[in-house]
Chain length 318, copies 2
Amino acid sequence: MTGVITRATPVPAPGMPGRVRIYEVGPRDGLQNEQEIVPLEVKEEFVRRLLAAGLPVVEATSFVHPRWVPQLADAADLMTALGDSIGEAARDCPVLVPNERGLDRALELGLRHVAVFASATETFAAKNLNRTLDSQLEMFAPTIERALAAGMDVRGYVSMCFGDPWEGPVEPQQVVTVGQRLLEMGVGELSLGDTIGVGTAGHVTALVEAFTAAGTGVDRLALHFHDTYGQALSNVQAGLRAGVTTYDASAGGLGGCPYAQSATGNLATEDLVWLLDGLGIDHGVDLEALVATSAWMAQQLGRPSPSAVVRALAQSTS
Amino acid sequence: MTGVITRATPVPAPGMPGRVRIYEVGPRDGLQNEQEIVPLEVKEEFVRRLLAAGLPVVEATSFVHPRWVPQLADAADLMTALGDSIGEAARDCPVLVPNERGLDRALELGLRHVAVFASATETFAAKNLNRTLDSQLEMFAPTIERALAAGMDVRGYVSMCFGDPWEGPVEPQQVVTVGQRLLEMGVGELSLGDTIGVGTAGHVTALVEAFTAAGTGVDRLALHFHDTYGQALSNVQAGLRAGVTTYDASAGGLGGCPYAQSATGNLATEDLVWLLDGLGIDHGVDLEALVATSAWMAQQLGRPSPSAVVRALAQSTS
């Protein structure tokens, strides 16, 4: 291989958006499942390099209780270290806040963007939060209200939007009901997650259409796919055709699904970039810098990246 | 994970075909890159189990000179063994014939389906066949003519249809020119291959449209994608939307790309089946039997399957 081709050839497809916003979740959603604690300075460099590669949003960590996610016990220290290294830009990195205690910590640090994490199904609400669907939303209400009052904006993750390992397939209308409750509470953007990766292209179209039929514009929606069954990028294509312009992705494909025994987790940011480049859709990310970052992170974690693009290109860019 | 979901939920997408034909290439395209020789009886069991899983076409081997592909030196013995075990059905398994000597061997065995392997680019024709674009087609002419005269049907692979590692991007019109020459020579079906996996969805649409604009119906086209950059299944979706109904795939994702340093090769048949099931498109394959076959083959080869679906489901089906 002489390496002539290291970028996709742009051949636009009709009816696709001209620009996409990639919401990078690697440092939070990717690292939270790592068994071995990643050193603070590695996390700090990871976030800094992702921002430097042009990613417009990098969710940095979660203010979850350390008992549940020991990997992210250093959340406040990480945000302070980022403030020292990149200044004001650190305050623009979103953080997950599971409840008011998490929000308090984000407020103390002067952060501007928080996210809450809801379930679309009763069973996952019970397993993950020990709550009913309704009571999880009641729990979020004061968190969202106080965040908005402090001038923050709030993202609402909705998990298990396509299927649930206990309940089976999830009806789009059920997701719309939960999502619209969050929007009514003041959430600015919904991230619709296929937490166990079972969704396919027609299901994506149906879910987006269920939201628009209920009056929610595609500009309020982000899509969050997992590659458990290899469907993530095909699902992005269906989302693009339905007009959705924000996609969550994880650099290097970091992150497994804690509820499925699988080596494959989050959609890899690099594979998404390859698709967007191929479709001639702007995203602002420097693929070479991103691949080098993920190759470096794979070395830190001691195993190869699951991203196809990172595997194919790492040797030419590291 | 309780395992409630082991199948995609069917949610059809508008404008897609109702039925797809999967052309299984694992025993030939998948195994040809294996360094260690796979025993004849393992190959025979592999083909037999793939047919038993409902795959309508299983390309079994190649009558290439053993010097070039030592792994397939047992081609004639394999076809004889298959004839002993499955009878007449063995004669319906296509085999690749690089030239008239290969065809002679297929004729001696009474096989009914052969395939030739052409390049869309000058450089790959030179590297792979030591010929020009024109002289490769001249070389195929007597092979195709004699196969047709013997009542066989002939498939024409066209490689490097999206990009070439030496020449860079490949124009659709160039592929149409080569493909239509093969059709004029009597080839029944063209398999358009993204040999190095660089193509994306818009490029797939453009290539299919270039053929239809030149008068070639989608019923004469098959698409053959590699997952080198994670794009294979997204590309299938674009092909489905363009009306193509035949897709090549390799059980378990077997097969690397000899011209790209990458761990990821052919589109995995299981991942394709998951997408088709999700779209409610008929294919006739028993996913459980297929996953069990690929999990068994992965054990024979001594490494995990690259198929996401096989990794996710193998424990529940083996």
